[in-house]
Structure formats: C-alpha cells, structure tokens
Symmetry: C3
Subunit: 277 residues, 3 copies
Amino acid sequence: MTKEEIQKQITQAVETVRRANPLVGSITNTVTINLVANAQLAVGGSAAMVYLPDEGEFLVKAAGAAYINVGTLLPIYEETLPHVAKVLHETGKPWVLDPVAVGIGTLRTQLLQQFKAYKPAVIRGNASEIIALAGLWGLDGGTARSKVRGVDSTDPVTAAKTAAVALAKWTGGAVAVSGKTDLITDGAVLAFSYGGSHFMPKITGAGCSLGGVVAVYATAAPPFIAALTATAVFNLAGKRAEKRAQGPGSFQTLLLDELYKATAVEIANNPFEIEEV
Amino acid sequence: MTKEEIQKQITQAVETVRRANPLVGSITNTVTINLVANAQLAVGGSAAMVYLPDEGEFLVKAAGAAYINVGTLLPIYEETLPHVAKVLHETGKPWVLDPVAVGIGTLRTQLLQQFKAYKPAVIRGNASEIIALAGLWGLDGGTARSKVRGVDSTDPVTAAKTAAVALAKWTGGAVAVSGKTDLITDGAVLAFSYGGSHFMPKITGAGCSLGGVVAVYATAAPPFIAALTATAVFNLAGKRAEKRAQGPGSFQTLLLDELYKATAVEIANNPFEIEEV
Amino acid sequence: MTKEEIQKQITQAVETVRRANPLVGSITNTVTINLVANAQLAVGGSAAMVYLPDEGEFLVKAAGAAYINVGTLLPIYEETLPHVAKVLHETGKPWVLDPVAVGIGTLRTQLLQQFKAYKPAVIRGNASEIIALAGLWGLDGGTARSKVRGVDSTDPVTAAKTAAVALAKWTGGAVAVSGKTDLITDGAVLAFSYGGSHFMPKITGAGCSLGGVVAVYATAAPPFIAALTATAVFNLAGKRAEKRAQGPGSFQTLLLDELYKATAVEIANNPFEIEEV
C-alpha cells in the first residue's frame, strides 16, 4: 500500500463511521470509562458498556466491534472476559485489547493468556505493555518479566517494535504502540504517527480512549487502518487541544471537542510515515 | 391544571430544592455516575451512591428520593436492587427508574420485571426503552421484543405515547420519554417540553443525569411536576450550553454550568405544551 | 516547627513530586475515581486503581503511598481492603484513609474498625466523618452515633478538633478535616489552611481528589506536611478556579488546570496559621 492508498482508506473509515454511527461494546476500567464512551461518541460511534457474561455476549453480537480493557478487574471478569472474547473470535468480530498493567495479579495474567487464542484484531498499549504481552504469549521481542509500572511505560516505543510485529503476526491483525511517536504495525508494514501533546500523559485515559476509538473504526476498516486512523485523530486532536489548553483539565475538554471537529481529510493528512518491517 | 398552575409548581420545586439541598440516593451505572452526581449537585441536591443491599436501604431511608439506573449491572445488583426498590415502595418514597438497555441479559429482564410491583414514581427512558418496558410489564403500547440498540433509541418519542400513558397509569406516577421533543405524562395529561441540543446524544449520560435530577425534584414535587421540571432545566441548559460549545467536551462542561445558573422562573418559562391524553 | 520551616518542607514536597512522578495506588469509589486520578496526575503523581486483593498488594508494594476511600463499597472490598491495609502497615508505607459515609452499612463499619490497627498515615474527611471515626475507634471527641448525612458533613470543622487530635495521636500520623477553613493536625500542632471556593461542595469529589493528592505528597513528605501541602494546593487552585468559573462544570475543569499550574512557592505561600494543640 502506498501512503496515498492508506490516506484514502483513512478518509473512508472516518466517513463511514460518521454516517453509520456504529455500536461498539466495551468492557473497560472504571477510572476512564466515561472518557472512553465520550471519545467513541465524539468520533461518531455509539457506546455501550457492560460487566455480566450474558450481557457481554448479547452486546458484542449486536455491535460492530468491541473494546476490552483489563484496567480495573472485578471478580466477575473471570467469567465475562473469556466468554466474550470467545464469542468475538467465533463470530469473527473485530475486537481491541488493551492489556493495561499486564503482569499485575493472577487473574490479569490468566485472562491475558486466554486471550492469545481469541486473537484480538488490534492490541493497543504502551511499549512496556506490548513487550510484556509478547513475553506472556511466548513471542519474539517479549520479556519474561513485565516492566510495567502501574499503568505507565518504562520503555520507549521503538523498544517494542519486535514485540509489536510478533503480536501482529500472531493475531493476523494490528498492534498500536502508544508513546511520543506512535507505532502501528500489521506485522509487515510499520507506520509512525506524529502529533499529540505533552498533556496526554497528564490526563488519565488518553490511551484507553484511543483504544475505544480504534474499536469504533474497526467496524469500518481493517485492523491496521482502524488503528492508524484512531491514532491519527488523537494525534491531531491532541495537538490542536494543546494550543488552547491551560492545563490538563481544559486539555481533556478540548480533546473531545477536537475529536468531534476533525474532518476525514484532516485526519488522513495527519503526519505519518511508513516503512517495511 | 392550567399551564400557569404547572409553572407555579415548577418554580416552587426549583426553589425548594435550592433551599433544602435534599439528599438523593442513587444506584447507577459506572459510565455516567460522575455526571449524574454533578448534575444533581448543580441543581441544588446532594448526591450519594452505593452498591450494597444494606447500604442501599440505609441510604434511601435517609434520602428524600432515589434514582435507580440499570445501565451497568454488577452481580450484587441481583440482591441490592429488588431489596432497595421494595424498601422504597414500602416507605412510600418516590424513586426514579431508568430502564437502560431493557431487553439485554437475563438479570436486567428479571430486575425490571420485579420493579413492576414496586411502582417507581417516575420512569425515564428513551422511546424504545419505554415501549420495551411496557411490553415487559404486559401493558398497552408495549412490544414483546425490545428494539433498544445498546443504549440508543430506534423509535421516535411519539411512538412511545401509548406505552408511556399505560406505564404512568400502572404506577400512578409519571413517565418521561426523552428525545428531540420530550414527552412527560401522568397518564391523564401529556406535556411536551422543548429545547435541548444536538450535542445531547453526543455526550454519554445526558439521559442518566436527567433521570438523576428528576429524583432531586421528586423530593419536592409530585412525579409529573418533578419530571417536567427536570426536563425543562435540561432543555434550557442544553440550549444555552450549545450556543457557546465548540464540541461535546465543552458542551458537557457548559451544561453543568447552565444547570447551576438557571433560575426558577427561567425553568418554569422554558417552552412546553400540554394536552389531555 | 516555625511557619518558615513548614513552608520550606511544603516547597520540597511539591518539587520532589514534580521531579519523581511517584506512583500512588488507590482503591476508591466509582463516582469520583476519574477526578482522583486526574488530580493526582495534575500535581505530578502517577495514578493506578485496582479492586482485587492480590492486585492491591502488588500495587501498593510498587507504589510510594496509597489512597483508600470507602465511598462505594463492592463485595470484594471485604477481602481486598483489610489485606491491602495490612500490607501497607507491615511494609511501613504511608496510606491515606478517606472514611466516606462512616456509619452507613455493616461492611463499612467492619472495615473502618479493622483499619484502626493498620494506622493510616493520614485520615482525611469532613468534620462529621472525623467525629464519627473517632467514635468508632473509641477515641476522644468521637460520638457513638454518626451524624454523617450521605456524604455531607453536618458539623463545622472546629467541632472535629478533639476527634482529629485524638485520631492523629492514635495513628502517629496526621488528620485533615475539610471544610470552609481546613484543619490539619499531627496531634501536637494545629494548622488552619485558607482559600478554596464555594464551588467545592458543588462538584462531586473535591474531598476525594484532595485525599488522593495527600497520598501523592505522602510519598515525599511526612504525614502532616503531606496533608498540609495537598490542602494548600487545593485551597489555592480552588480560589483561582473560582475567579474564572461560570458554574461547577467550568470550575472542575479549571481546578485541574490550577492544580497543574501552581508552583511550589505559591503553594507554600498559601495562607495558613499554626497553633499548639
């Protein structure tokens, strides 16, 4: 694919979502669940969140895609998450995995191991999470021991390149590594997306809401394009929001405004580079 | 009641709430729980949220009214919600039911069926939810099969008129159907409330926070007036917020500001029409 | 300590946090969890939240301090909270207790009783909560019967002076009583911190986010200084935010901006008075 072909697909993804208002089902952490929903709505999607196994099944069957974020696990997740991931896999529905804080706790480790078989269309995380997940799944570029600190990365994005490529090859989908420059790969091509803001790590949920928006675009585009489109609109909106923000409070408000206002052409033209793996 | 009599009661409800700072207990979804609380505070109420059965009982006994929203059910809700609804019914305390996503999952269906006997003072939902709830309760205007899509309505407000009237007659309270023009009925009179904003469906929780605010006014006015007052202040605040909003982020911020700033007279004068059923 | 010595320590606490970006683990209510995290990030900390026992243990061992808020208890808290508090006590790690709505429900009472042995470094609450907790722990100044109404105080700050001193003497840490003028004590010295805004009680989570920020500073300063620093930055940011706020929505946005912008010297110079107990 040339850069122009990618930009054309990004434009189509954005326009399709704005026109179709696709439903995305999410199971996500309680810290940033509101921002995830609002970001999904801002780009043109419809958001619904649940916790119970049968509700999760119903929701993802009705939805065009799903977002699963393991941030704040509750006991019921032991039942809900593998069941919903299995349904998603069996119905061939794209889903986005956010392996937040991989390495913390036994249930989190168990769930993330189970997800290996259910092949998420897109995995989105920071560099340390991507490296740790590859390690957990026994893939190239992973480490046996997570270097995740709470929800923060201790590794630069480029350090996760091998892990990201290995994960994408395993799932047959795409991986998005979030950081100063974002890395998106389908295992064959690497895209580097530019923009964003120094305020991004100063608000909670910039990464989660990005993951939720990847799922919105996954209803309308292949995994790699969905991940790149979501990353582009966040980089664009973040850059614009920063210009008028006076701190992280106004930045978050403006970020939602700019996610809403960004046009398909502007998103497609947000700076990015591609190279072969 | 004439329009003037209704406006007088709206004015009184708003002023009583601002003076008395009434406590409202809520059991509501994790997606919009923060906005519900902030909206309740903005109009002059006091907000408290719980999950456990005995805490729910304690809270609603201490509160002037309650708000129950079945958005994101947790396993403990199987115990908490029927217990709390029963206490509310037995103590004759007004409560507001938000039957979010009725039709999804077995627990949700079971709980909403149980609520029929505990007669909420106000039921607030979108048109599809109101129609589906009437169907679940075997009342006029209901359908056997929910047309709810996630949390969205697929029906226009007017399509829920028969169901809303039937539900209000059953409970002896009021029903508020949210949409472009809002419909409020006590089973005998229909009120149509105007205003709001195209940004309302672009933020998560416009409906939930409206439901939470209905409960605040239910501490100070009969169900029909409480529902109409809450709808009026949201329509007024939404219209005003839209004028200065640059997107859904700033709209939500401004909505809370305008809920806070709206005076009793302005709320009573927000455009509405009444007709006999 | 003279006032100048206290101001020097406040300055150091603020600067250390901004430089070190310390991780704080929190178990807190779902209503204000997002604001807690955003406030912790705004002052320079890193925030992570969990619910499960082993994750709580892992998190607080990795973190520099912890924040425990009993606002919206879930069933798993019966297991998680005593375990995590015990780990915190055994590892000598500072933790902040927010005894929200003490007196409501059996689990809440049971947990707060257990916490007595695990001596939180800082207890933060409104006057009624501090008085009720002292009563629950059988200390001076407490009452057998909680006068907490939902999450609100029905007592003035000064009424909690004896209880606050007794709690601080018991824990060997500090107590912060939030109200119009905030009272902070280590059992020997009383500090009164001024500022804030009439909008503080008009948003949900002003107290919770203050508690979360106390935990951030507790990674870098002794309990009394941590509590005073956090109170000072909230009083300063609240006062500044109020000047430009048009209501509670914009106030919350501006509050986060001002928490972020406040300098160490400005925080240290926020008006306060000290006296011997």
